[in-house]
């Protein structure tokens, strides 16, 4: 039962990654692309979590955390770029 559910959700998640990739590629504006990329990151975390349930292991826990951190920092950086064109400010005050 659990494995069936897992398989179906993995399939759905793979599908949504494909959709997000399409959005990231064609996305008419930059914010569309940022949201799409961020969503891909979050889906990947879920993907890995379900994979851990299927394989009955906690070996990939660090992988999920690392992806979460990198996706977060990436989103912040791109968002700052879209907002002002400068990623790292020299002196804000």
């Amino acid at each position: 039962m659990l494995s069936t559910v897992a398989a179906i959700s993995l399939f759905l998640m793979a599908g949504s990654i494909v959709i997000c990739t399409v959005r990231a590629l064609i996305g008419p504006s930059a914010p569309d692309r940022i949201v799409a990329l961020d969503t891909i990151g979050i889906i990947l975390i879920g993907f890995i979590a379900i994979l851990m349930i299927v394989q009955d292991t906690i070996a990939y826990a660090e992988v999920a955390l690392v992806i979460a951190i990198l996706a977060f920092i990436g989103s912040v950086a791109i968002a700052k770029f879209v907002e002002g064109g400068i990623v790292l400010d020299r002196d804000r005050h």
Binding site: F72, I73, D89
Partner: protein, 141 residues
């Protein structure tokens, strides 16, 4: 100045420390499990990059007054000298030793000479990543 991103500041103050703790965990998990100096260093670097992103270069420079080139140097020196240490006892270069100790709080702990070597790698990775990112960032004017 312009619009100060309050939410980003608040979140960064919490999240940066969570990432730093996670990076220390990864650093010590290494050697027998996934983790180690390289990935731990990358995580620390990403925590620091987050700080640089949400604050500005000048502020962080005041908090972390390191020249990252020296951090790379210190790391390389540490890693190299760990290998040299064994040579004084007649073992080949880079021979590693490990032993189990009873420590007060941690209980039975494995102490290895691979740990200082890993710490060296950690410093090199942190220094290198930040040096590259900051050099590229200072290029726009």
């Amino acid at each position: 100045m312009k619009n100060t991103p309050i939410q980003l500041h608040v979140v960064t103050r919490i999240v940066a420390f969570i990432i730093l703790i996670f990076s220390i965990f990864l650093f010590f998990a290494g050697h027998n499990n996934p983790g180690g100096g390289f990935i731990g260093g990358l995580m620390t670097a990403s925590a620091l990059v987050l700080l640089y992103l949400s604050f500005d270069l000048k502020t962080i420079k005041r908090v972390l007054p390191f020249d990252y080139a020296y951090v790379i140097g210190a790391g390389l020196l540490l890693a190299t000298l760990t290998g040299v240490a064994g040579m004084f006892f007649g073992f080949p270069y880079l021979t590693q030793f490990f032993e189990y100790f009873q420590l007060p709080i941690l209980g039975e702990t494995e102490l290895t000479t691979a740990l200082p070597f890993d710490l060296g790698i950690y410093l090199v990775v942190v220094g290198f990543t930040l040096l590259v990112i900051l050099t590229v960032a200072e290029d726009d004017s």
